[in-house]
């Protein structure tokens, strides 16, 4: 058992280390910004005093290492700084600058919840659906169903998310107004209304992710069914369903869990485009807007959230595949 704990501990430490390195890379981004930010924000009115004042209020007068740890410390306590577009500088306006400043964290929190809701809805449909389809395609390999599924999923994987999204909008929102094409989500919607407005973006993500997940499940099961102990079970006359339930499934658990976690990580990227298409108020939308405005604190925060989600899901896949594999669980 201690060996197992050490193994999981090692993976977790590696994940934490990767996250730390990634945070450094993301922080280094602001350092690499060409030109002086203070001068850029002031434009024509960049007097030396004003520049110095802004630099001070942004903490630019300290060394990069100092600022990195200040930023990292802030991130741990949920403080991502203040969005550039929200900054009001005392020197710039000549007032005390006391107004309600919306921090990046304030903007991020509700949007984060929305994105999680969208991803969770998509996953809740996609995971059982793709597992069922994948296992069926593997069991009836070479049949019409398998071939049709192969062509269908390959098409769906190759299509950009916005293609799938606009086809859905065209048929389910524009031509037959069943669902809203723009997801207006706000805090005081009840669950069903919220779900109703999330249907189209969630369906888009589901279609794209299901294809990936189904193909990977199919390959995992096919590899498994080709192994010798399955053949042995079959040859000694074990019924087909029993081969699957007793012999194949326990061993299929590890690859399948891996597939699920990897595809949830894929959702992280997919969510950006889909949110923009449906004007869904999530982090992806916020990220893209911030990139266009070159609003560094917001970009850093969004980037860190996405990277962390991605790394955590990959880590989860890693740890779970250790836990579900007896050979790894009891190393010799």
């Amino acid at each position: 058992m201690s060996g197992l704990a050490r193994m999981v501990g090692q993976r977790l430490a590696l994940g934490a280390f990767t996250l730390l390195i990634v945070s450094m890379v993301i922080f280094a981004a602001i350092e690499a910004l060409p030109g002086d930010f203070a001068e850029a924000i002031l434009g024509q009115g960049a007097t030396p005093e004003a520049v110095a004042a802004i630099r001070e209020s942004l903490g630019m007068d300290r060394s990069a290492v100092e600022r990195y740890f200040a930023w990292l410390g802030g991130v741990f306590s949920g403080d991502f700084g203040v969005s550039f577009s929200q900054l009001s500088f005392q020197s710039q306006y000549g007032q005390t600058g006391e107004r309600d400043i919306v921090t990046v964290a304030d903007q991020l929190a509700p949007r984060f919840a929305n994105t999680i809701f969208l991803a969770a809805t998509a996953a809740a449909v996609a995971v059982p659906l793709s597992l069922a389809l994948g296992i069926l395609a593997a069991l009836y390999r070479g049949s019409i169903f398998d071939r049709a599924a192969n062509v269908g999923t390959l098409t769906s994987i190759s299509s950009p998310e916005f293609f799938v999204a606009y086809i859905l909008i065209l048929f389910l929102a524009a031509a037959n107004p069943i669902f809203p094409s723009i997801s207006k989500i706000h805090a005081d919607l009840d669950f069903w209304e919220r779900l109703y407005r999330t249907v189209l973006p969630a369906l888009t993500l589901t279609l794209v992710v299901t294809a990936h997940m189904m193909r990977m499940t199919r390959v995992a099961i096919i590899n498994l069914m080709a192994s010798q102990y399955i053949e042995m079970a079959r040859l000694k006359g074990v019924p087909r369903w029993r081969v699957i339930v007793r012999h194949a499934l326990p061993n299929a658990l590890a690859p399948i869990i891996n597939v699920i976690a990897l595809n949830l990580a894929y959702l992280v990227t997919g969510v950006v485009v889909v949110e923009v298409v449906f004007v869904y108020p999530g982090i992806g939308q916020m990220f893209v807007d911030a990139v266009k405005l070159r609003d560094m604190p917001t970009v850093q925060a969004c980037c860190l959230v996405f990277a962390a989600a991605y790394i955590l899901l990959n880590l989860l896949a890693d740890v779970l595949s250790v836990l579900t594999n007896p050979r790894l669980r009891h190393p010799k």
Partner: protein, 312 residues
């Protein structure tokens, strides 16, 4: 029904062409022709479509009715309103058919250049790491690990914020990010070749690292790299289209499919009033993107299937 005319009909026509082309491919004599003899319809379809795209991209200036950024007085024309502009004009009065053809040329061309650049960077570092090994290999490999820990689209957005949004920056950023995958493959393939006896012999002859890479490793690694090129091109193509769709990729006045989808998406509401021709407009560039990646995937799938012995 605009959807039928724009999506289903071209697909049917293409499948028909592919069917005929397959007969043509099968007719190729000699050892080279043997490759095509057992070709499934999907592969024939893929190959035909890829060839048609390449032709259209190369010949865009010849077949396009007008210049890429030529502006006419009639802006926001609907499809079919004026026989001079088959698909209508955009908000600036540019012919949409022309934009579509040039958009394909630009998107495919830029994606190709980016992929080629990614292979140049990735394969060079990968082979060097495989040949030299040691601390250099460790440094590059660990750097690649970190770069791959962040999803590409997210990382590309971060880097484009830093360096500013321009077509050149996007090409460089994506090429560098994508070269990490090529590096992994090149290093793995190169690592398998480096242990061969003929490499040892060349080393003992006193050949330099340049000779080893170009004369010994590259010819032996060409086949897996080529198959990977098709897949990486698809990926880069989709990434560029997605970035352009978000307004952060290829910048105007260059025409490109991702931007066209976003700009034309306002027409989709016309389906409510029964104007399917206008409503299907945004699907046109989107379908063009999807069709090309599907075609490449079909082709690569068949090649891998044929050469990897995965078939039982």
């Amino acid at each position: 029904m605009g959807f039928l005319t724009y999506v289903v009909l071209p697909l049917a026509v293409l499948t028909g062409i592919a069917w005929t082309a397959r007969a043509g491919f099968r007719g190729i004599a000699g050892p080279f022709g043997a490759v095509f003899r057992a070709m499934p319809l999907t592969a024939a379809f893929g190959l035909t479509v890829v060839l048609l795209y390449v032709l259209a991209a190369l010949a865009a200036p010849v077949i396009a009715p007008y210049g890429e950024s030529q502006v006419f007085d009639e802006f926001n024309l609907f499809p079919g309103e004026n026989p001079d502009f088959v698909l209508g004009t955009d908000q600036l009065g540019r012919d949409l058919l022309t934009r579509l053809l040039y958009g394909g040329r630009n998107t495919i061309g830029i994606a190709f250049v980016t992929t080629a650049l990614a292979f140049l960077i990735g394969a060079t570092f990968g082979f060097i790491a495989a040949v030299l090994g040691g601390w250099l290999d460790q440094v590059v490999s660990r750097t690649v690990d970190v770069l791959m820990a962040i999803p590409q689209l997210i990382f590309a957005l971060l880097l484009l914020t830093i360096f500013g949004q321009s077509t050149i920056n996007m090409i460089l950023v994506i090429a560098v990010l994508d070269s990490t995958r090529v590096f992994r493959l090149a290093r793995a393939v190169g690592g398998n070749i480096v242990v061969m006896d003929y490499i040892e012999a060349a080393k003992l002859r006193g050949e330099g690292i340049g000779y080893l890479i170009f004369k010994e490793i590259l010819p032996n690694a060409a086949a897996p790299l080529l198959a990977e090129f098709g897949l990486r091109f698809c990926f880069v193509f989709l990434l560029i289209a997605a970035l352009s769709f978000l307004g952060i990729g290829i910048q105007p006045p260059l025409a490109d499919w991702g931007t066209m989808v976003r700009e034309l998406s306002i027409y989709i509401g016309y389906a409510e009033y029964g104007d399917w021709q206008a409503a299907s407009l945004p699907l046109l560039p989107a379908a063009a993107i999807a069709l090309l990646t599907v075609a490449i995937n079909f082709t690569v799938d068949w090649m891998l299937d044929r050469y990897s012995g995965l078939k039982d």
